[in-house]
Symmetry: none
Subunit: 121 residues, 4 copies
DNA sequence: GTGGTCTAGACCACA
DNA sequence: GTGGTCTAGACCACC
């Protein structure tokens, strides 16, 4: 995995795991990779992984069991909400920025339709 | 103006000015606010404004004349390209993120249409 | 039983047993639950129960007989002292913390009286 | 300052600052010692101070300004609530533990009155 | 083996 | 000078 230089690595790790949760690759109760294991895999310092896991725990998306590991929350709604929340934030941000550029609604529609066509090819 | 804590303030200032250029509030040759004035207005350290102006200059969007101030580039194409470039980056980023969430094309269309309707109200 | 995440589980187990000793639910010579049994009941790793029992033994509150199990000490004074010691520690700690908050003596009296009234209801 | 071995240092640092806020030694808007300065004073690694400050920020008790420092929240209520919350937690915990020891209400009153008399001396 | 904390030391972004 | 992130490496508590 390559990390983007603009965003702290631990945030990118959080996003990576959130993505997997949203995509159903990690489900409620699944064990996350251990800190050490994941740090080897991502070639990142264990402390950095640790930091990411802790922040995820604070967000209620994972929980840890002493000496056992870190696990995806059992709270199904939390995962559902996560997807919705992430999508909403994305779309809100997109529209906000679009407006800042002074792009009109019809223009957006057109651009997006074009993009969708391109993507299909 | 409120600043977002995730992004460096000088970048937010750059974006602010770019927006105004794209929206036609700042046109080729217009004088930007002086560093001192702008820093008072935004309640921001003058160095931070300075930094934003410098970066804008590096991007070729503004130029400075000693003792006169900082001005929007006369290069009309630069501004046009700016709009296109910003829009493209925005849309590319949006699609990339949307896909990460595993949202399907048709779903995007639906969500966006709904949003557009909401916005009209 | 729910465990508090701030305190090691084995300590919480020790406290649980101490409470029962102080309350007279466990008396001198009584057999504690077997490690296996207790671990099932509390849904805790047997090693953790084991650790708690060991520490209690180090404190002289229980003793083990090979193959027979773990038993509450026959030493009546030990249990009496335990209650006094625990109460003293509790009260000392409480007063120390209260002072740290800058709460005055009269205020303490008032607060506690109120609490006692509430509890009676 | 001496640190207790049972509690993470960064938590003890948080408590130290909370105490000062509650006692009125730190008031809304006051600048906390810089991370480096405080780390020298307490003979603790800067990262540890940093961690404490971050957690305080997450609790809404302090805020940081990029490049400027870390400051006590301007929110007066937050500080008032802090005192109340800390006192309530303390008292709740105290009563809970007292009950676990099977100590009766009248006994508590007596013990506390004795303590108060001792403290006056 | 698992997470949690801490240190020492470095580099960066920001004011 | 200020906070923020990261690494390397250590030690601890717990399971």
């Amino acid at each position: 995995m390559e990390f983007n230089n603009n965003l702290p690595i631990y945030i990118q790790i959080m996003n990576l795991i959130k993505s997997k949760m949203v995509l159903g690759e990690f489900n409620g109760g699944d064990k996350l990779p251990s800190v050490r294991e994941f740090s080897k895999e991502l070639k990142v310092n264990p402390n950095t992984i640790q930091r990411g896991y802790q922040e995820l725990e604070r967000e209620g998306l994972v929980f840890t069991q002493r000496g056992m590991g870190t696990f995806v929350t059992q709270d199904v709604d939390a995962i559902k909400n996560l997807k919705k929340k992430m999508a909403d934030e994305l779309i809100d941000g997109f529209f906000k920025e679009i407006k800042k550029l002074g792009i009109e609604i019809d223009e957006i529609k057109k651009i997006i339709s074009e993009r969708i066509e391109e993507d299909k090819e």
